[in-house]
Amino acid sequence: MDFELMINSFPKLLNATLITLKLLSASLIFGLFIGLCFAILRVNKNPFVNKFAYGYSYVFRGTPLLVQIFIIYFGLGQIEYLRSTVLWVILKEPYWCAIIAFSLNTGAYTSEILRSAFQTIKPGIIEAGQSLGISSKIIFYKIQIPIAIRQSLPAYGNEIILMMKGTSLASTVTLMDLTGVAKYIISTTFKPIEVFIVAGGIYLFITFIIHNVIKFLEKKYSFN
């Protein structure tokens, strides 16, 4: 055991954690928005609309995140037309490509989580709203959405942790996040175990915090 290396690499890894957290929070915010939109499309009665939303979530859940990042980072740059538009400012940055890929990916999972939450809402609750003469739009935004969000908290907590692990793939498109820096230190010192313990410890610590925050929220917003 090389304790000196562990102590020396700790500040570097901690610095890299900042990028991991930035990637995670940005993709969760965008992903939640995308997920909510697609969940609403999924419960739409128009078969064309909900088939489209289903296709989106099927494709993004059925392929590895690595492929998605590579298509966006390496693939989209190949389209000549895109290079001439404003979008290119965003797409040439690996940071934004990673965030786009992560958001689309977590959006697909989130839409599934929210959809199943929408479908488990007891019809009595909606009927109660209707018999009180509340318009269906307000029922949807003020009754169904809040209940669905509460219902999906445990599953969404898992999704946050999965996404946190997913951000490690940013290191494959040259970003120096926690995993990227850990790999760099490993490949220069050839001490994989020491670096793994420190980097893994930081990841576990983040997982632990997310887990407890979700638990707290579940308790706070429980129905009882």
Binding site: L66, V67, Q68, I71, S168, T172, P192, F196
Partner: protein
């Protein structure tokens, strides 16, 4: 389409072999995962606090740390660890471990953590009466496990195991960083030499979709088979 032709000019045959490699790694990893689950599920269910702790450490650490980091640990640390063990037995030459073995082992350990959770959940949701009944009948331990618990456990575990299989299949794409030529690595090579990354990565995505789609159909059949009588 020319890019996908077989033979020297196209990448069709290379990609086909790479797909086989992905399937082979996934199956090997899944089996290694079962082996780990076989060890750690009893630990998690055991009454001893110490054994519980070991089981929980395994599943918590593996499920809380990114897969890529685990793969790097094995990739860079694998041959070192094997050489260390070999040196105890007096063998001091350099040993290089094949990328297939390192890769399937790394993915296997990850998949094992998920399988352990699935098996634990399945065994815990078997009715207590079943355990008591086989005890009362005086069944021997192996008979009790293989003929009473296992069939019921499999029925409950298969839907969740299909999720583990999907996760494992998708995780194998990460082994491409170690240089093992599976779908992702082959697409990377092809994209590099033809300068057509969009086509090859999209094709890789289609291959993965095809694999998940076909395996889901197969698993559904298994599910029906194991829930006979329910």
């Amino acid at each position: 389409m020319e890019l996908l032709s077989f033979g020297k000019t196209g990448w069709g045959d290379e990609l086909l072999i790479a797909t086989m490699m992905t399937i082979a790694v996934s199956i090997t990893a899944m089996l290694i995962g079962f082996l780990f689950a076989l060890i750690f599920t009893p630990l998690k269910l055991s009454k001893s606090k110490f054994l519980n702790l070991i089981g929980n450490c395994y599943t918590t650490i593996i499920r809380g740390v990114p897969e890529l980091l685990v793969i790097y640990l094995f990739f860079f640390g694998g041959s070192g660890a094997v050489m260390y063990v070999a040196s105890i037995f007096g063998y001091n030459e350099y040993i290089e471990i094949n990328a297939f073995i390192t890769g399937s082992f790394a993915i296997g350990i990850i998949s094992g953590a998920y399988s352990t959770e699935v098996f634990r959940g399945a065994i815990q949701s078997i009715d207590k009466g079943q355990f008591e009944a086989s005890k009362v009948l005086g069944l021997k331990k192996p008979v009790h496990f293989f003929k009473v618990i296992m069939p019921q456990m499999l029925r409950l575990a298969i839907p969740n195991l299909s999720n583990v299989w999907q996760i494992t299949l998708k995780d194998t794409s990460l082994i491409s960083v170690t240089g093992l030529v599976e779908i992702m690595r082959q697409s990377y090579i092809a994209a590099g030499s033809t300068r057509d990354p969009l086509f090859f990565y999209s094709f890789a995505a289609i291959l993965y979709l095809l694999l998940t789609f076909l395996s889901m159909r197969l698993i559904n059949k298994l599910e029906i088979r194991y829930s006979r009588g329910y």
